[in-house]
């Protein structure tokens, strides 16, 4: 085995450049393998390279013998180094790993060849076969509606609503996803906006902000899926979530909406006050009514009792009178008069005598006298 087997030969000055594959540049043919900055290597790497050089016959391509190294590949010279380097590199492109979450498509000269399972896999080296990997298990998220332009939407009843929503989606067919649609993520976002506005455009504001929130997200999801399936995009829309569905903040609209709620509360409050008033005066009236009747009953009772008493007294006196009428009568008369006259002023005038006397009654003086005087 002589070095001259190498097509390039050491005597050619070891330019080592050819075929357009890897420009090695002039001089020395010192292979600076896979390093972007020639001549700047770390000390360890230097040693490795020196080791290689010793193995493969040294860096001086200009030497006639192609290097006096003892390595098995020494005869190949600098070109050998290149070949080996290329071989190693090519070999590295023949191995690839696929994550548990990923799927990998293998293309042979650009044509779809097969899909690889998770784990360590082998393929033909570049450029024969290439790999495209995507995380297909992962659920991706798109948020739509941070700005006035994207969040204000026209509703079916010609109102405007402010909506922020989120779309959760994932790749469910990697072939379709890669091969059928250009910039699929952009497509999903555009379809999302369009679908939401279509559904909102069919709904009424009142329902959107209150009862129909869930059904809207379902309708949007379905519409999006239908459209993306039409494109054969290989995308599954997992869920649509409404983050916000409110009357717009602009122009005091949302304040006006809040006022309606306040109005309901105010109305309830004054009705409650009226009911409280009702619950107050009706029982009070009943109380008064009972009182009135009670008073009447008391009156009745009293009056009847008084009458009974007096009647009874009269009856007793009558009995007494009937037993001795004249005596009783006289006695009663005298007793009464005694009482009557005892407390009063009296003047006894004899009408018959003293006709010459002019009766003069100082009535004012009499009336001014205190009680009990005689």
């Amino acid at each position: 085995m002589s070095d001259n087997k190498s097509p390039w030969g050491s005597s050619s000055g070891g330019n080592g450049s050819g075929g357009g594959k890897k420009p090695w540049g002039q001089g020395g043919g010192r292979p600076d393998r896979n390093k972007p900055r020639a001549g700047e290597t770390s000390p360890d790497l230097d040693n490795v390279i020196r080791g290689f050089k010793n193995q493969f016959g040294g860096g001086g391509g200009g030497r006639k013998n192609g290097g006096g190294g003892n390595g098995p590949l020494a005869k190949f010279g600098p070109f050998g180094i290149f070949i080996v380097a290329a071989a190693i590199w090519l070999f590295s492109t023949a191995i690839y790993t696929v994550d548990q979450q990923e799927e990998a498509l293998v293309l042979r000269f650009g044509e779809y060849s097969r899909t690889s399972p998770p784990g360590l896999n082998f393929k033909m080296p570049y450029p024969v076969e290439t790999v495209i990997k995507r995380k297909t298990r992962e659920v991706k998220k798109i948020d739509i509606g941070g700005t006035a332009r994207t969040s204000l939407m026209l509703t079916g009843d010609e109102n405007i609503v402010d909506i922020n929503f989120t779309v959760l989606w994932r790749i469910n067919d990697l072939n379709h996803y890669i091969f059928n649609v250009d910039e699929t993520e952009v497509a999903v976002r555009a379809v999302a906006e369009s679908a939401m506005r279509e559904i909102v455009g069919k709904s009424e504001l009142e329902k959107i902000i209150t009862t129909d929130r869930l059904s809207i997200t379902i309708d949007v999801r379905d519409l999006m899926q239908k459209t993306l399936d039409l494109y054969e995009a290989g995308v599954e829309v997992v869920e649509v979530q409404l983050q916000k569905a409110d009357p717009p903040e602009a122009g005091n609209v949302i304040d006006a909406f809040r006022d309606v709620v306040n109005a309901a509360q105010d109305a309830e409050t004054i009705v409650n006050e009226a009911t409280a008033y009702q619950n107050n005066i009706v029982p009070k009236a009943r109380g008064e009514a009972a009182q009135i009747i009670q008073d009447a009953e008391a009156y009745k009772g009293r009056v009847v009792a008084e009458a009974s008493g007096e009647a009874q007294r009269f009856k007793l006196v009558l009995e007494e009178y009937q037993a001795a009428p004249e005596a009783t009568r006289k006695r009663m008369y005298l007793e009464t008069m005694e009482k009557v006259y005892s407390n009063a002023d009296k003047i006894i005038l004899d009408g018959k005598s003293g006709s010459g006397v002019v009766p003069y009654l100082p009535l004012d003086k009499l009336n001014a006298r205190p009680k009990g005087a005689q």
């Binding site: 650009g110 079916g156 405007i160 005091n252 008033y277 009056v303």
Partner: protein, 296 residues
């Protein structure tokens, strides 16, 4: 031995050169247009035919060269178009188009590349949108026939593309946004505010009315309760009076004459008080013993 080497080198390099200039790869999502002396010859992995990507062969430059086209569903995001609907309402419509290169030859001739396609489609869609939407009223665009209209736009623009031999198929047109221009939005806001304000007043007024009713009814009930009680009370008092009169009558009628005397005596005792001054005649019966111990 050395003589063969240069030959080998030469052969190898020729082979390599041939490999490079006479082959090309068509990726799964690409179509490749092969031009022979600048004239369109064939399309590899063309849309509409069975997928056939991979390694392909051609004559070297300058005989044949390859233009790569996309085989996928492509997007043109249109600039917003302000148009007038049938009810004279202004709308700003922001739509997007999804299209596909279905005939690479025609496409290259008419549009060259995707940039050209974008411009062309923008102008086609501009006029199609105005055409189709200008014939309907705003509510239909926003709600009623939105899906139908989008479908119509897609069909019309697709027909135009065919007529102009653009080599593209318009797959879908979707309206992302159909909104009112800024000033009109303000108008809508005002209207919404007014509507809500009316609603609020109505609710408050209803509440007040109901409250009034409750109060009025309550007062009426209270009054009725009291009046009924009053009525009953009068009856009871009347009964009392009647009973009293009966009792008196029953007693006094036993001897009316005596009753008169008895009652007068009582009245005198009570009725004539301490302030009264009497002028008595000596003939007064009470004084009958005053003159004479035997009385008069």
């Amino acid at each position: 031995m050395s003589n063969k080497t240069p030959l080998l080198i030469f052969a190898a390099s020729i082979a390599a050169l041939a490999a490079i200039t006479c082959t090309f790869t068509v990726k799964q999502w690409e179509q490749a247009l092969v031009l022979q002396f600048g004239e369109a010859q064939r399309v590899e992995n063309a849309w509409g035919q069975e997928a056939d990507a991979g390694l392909k062969f051609k004559l070297p430059i300058p005989f044949e060269r390859v233009i790569k086209l996309d085989r996928r569903n492509l997007e043109v995001d249109l600039k917003p178009v302000e148009l007038l609907a049938a009810d004279q309402e202004r709308l700003v419509v922001d739509a997007f188009v999804r299209y596909r290169i279905k005939d690479g030859v025609k496409f290259y001739e008419a549009l060259q590349n995707e940039i050209g396609a974008q411009q062309k489609l923008q102008s086609i869609m501009d006029s199609t949108l105005r055409d189709v939407l200008g014939r309907v009223e705003t509510p239909e665009i926003i709600a009623g026939r939105r899906a139908e209209l989008m479908s119509e736009i897609q069909q019309v623009s697709n027909a135009v593309a065919n007529t102009q031999r653009l080599g593209v198929e318009i797959i879908d047109v979707r309206i992302k946004r159909a909104d009112l221009p800024q000033e009109n939005s303000q108008r809508v806001f005002k209207r919404m505010v007014t509507q809500r304000a009316q609603e609020a007043s109505r609710i408050r007024a209803e509440g007040e009315e109901r409250a009034r009713e409750i109060r009025a009814t309550a007062e009426k009930t209270a009054t009725v309760i009291r009046a009924e009680a009053q009525e009953k009370a009068e009856v009871i008092r009347g009964e009392g009076d009647k009973q009293r009169n009966n009792v008196y009558a029953e007693a006094y009628e036993r001897d009316l004459d005596f009753f008169e005397f008895y009652r007068t005596m009582q009245a005198l005792e009570k009725g004539i008080g301490t302030r009264t001054s009497y002028v008595l005649s000596p003939d007064n019966e009470f004084l009958s013993y005053l003159d004479n111990q035997r009385g008069r």
